[in-house]
Amino acid sequence: MLCQQCGQREAEIYLVQTLNGEKTQTHLCAQCAANSAITMTPISFASFLQGFVDAPKLFGECAQPKQAEASCPLCGQSLTELSRTGKAGCPSCYKTFAPQMAAMIRSVQAGNSKHIGKIPQSAGEARACRELEQYKQKLSEAVAKEEFEEAAKLRDAIRALEGGTADGKMVRGEQ
């Protein structure tokens, strides 16, 4: 197929981008891709893990006053250790050092910081949240298309889910 930018050359690159939660899909030829203003320049693994110049600065910007001495309750990793290795000591580090993990993730994942893929069966809460997001999305689409009956059903389902979650019960709305 032809490049979506110039409409002249053969598209060679299929690009899927998620910026600020919005997904775009583009087919570009090599030239337009090279000239593209939306290149992502992910920092390479090696340069990041070797303490690429951003890392200490990155952490300095996000460190909360109390965090300097903080260590993870599960694995005992300190903030210093985290900034030295660039790796978490355990899953809880992601919560303990949330601002730093967020900064690292954004910088190695080309600005992305929200997982939109598979959710394991065991993560019930995350599944319910994703379902709620999807219902809300469908609701705004239904309203835009003036499908008010559908919209009403979705609104009820959303209320049931939100009500259920608030009580600690998982109440499934009508589909």
């Binding site: 060679e12 992502m40 320049t41 694995c75 992601y94 997982h115 069966q121 065991s122 809460e125």
Partner: protein, 337 residues
Amino acid sequence: MEKWYEENSNASSILSSRIRLARNFSERPFPKGANDDERLEMIDKTAKTLAQYKGADPLSMNLLDSIDRVSRQALVDKHLISPNLAAEKRPACVFISRSEKTSLMVMEEDHIRIQAIEAGDNITKAYERASAFDDLLDEEIGYAFDGQWGYLTSCPTNAGTGLRASYMLHLPYLEAMGQISNIASSIGKFGYTIRGTFGEGSGSYGSVYQISNQITMGMTEEDILRSIQSLAGEIVEKERYLREREVAGNPLGAEDRVWRVYGLLTNARQMTEKEAITNLSLLKTGIMAGIIDQSLPNIYDLIVHIRTATLSKNEGITDMAEVPAARAAYLRKKLAG
């Protein structure tokens, strides 16, 4: 049961499709900080869960300390374990399926790394298999997962989907025309890498390259698979175009190169691993260009078998000085009959 590399086709530039999923237990330190007891406990839990799998391609459990150095290298060569795991001195384990299409590393950089390989362009099939084992393990283990950041991994470069999708491609003409670095920079902008499979850095040989995604968050698994499949297709199409153009431009030169290599492979009395891989790669190029008979044995299968670790293990060689002659003998037998 056929190994995956025996299913390979000489007619395709796509040698294999590979999926790797990184997963972790939720209430344990990542492997680097886990003590021996914790590691053994997690290995045990994984083994008990995998014992439930009663499929047609059974898994064998291999504690790392039961695998000798040469066997470890053979597993690395076949991409069943990483060099990282091969070097591990503390408790670790790898589960390998009979066809070698599935391997699960336990206590590598993450607690569990599920890997699925398929011959040729079959990335979706590989993903489905990896995902099935993924679901089986999650049911018993309950992975470390966060609503915002997805699957939590030791290194943030793997967080989110924890998915590394890659293709192994045979690209002799793109390589000869100096196009690999161009490909590297244009796909690099979109979060993909390409690197030589055999040898290190600029010293790579055999014209086999691996492309894989670097970004694991902010895309769905389907997005990643679709993108990389499309990318592999585009690269392979470019390779085909260059091959046809170059062969048409100098048919005698192309034929000569291939037949000389055939002569060498069917007559030499000793050969190093690097020389064998380089020559076999040229032979495969000849098959793809229609210069030499397609009924020759599966070239990639030959490559797997002539690598030093695998060859010495299969032939019971203990004195490494005997390997070059054994390799040449194996090739003569396979290629000339």
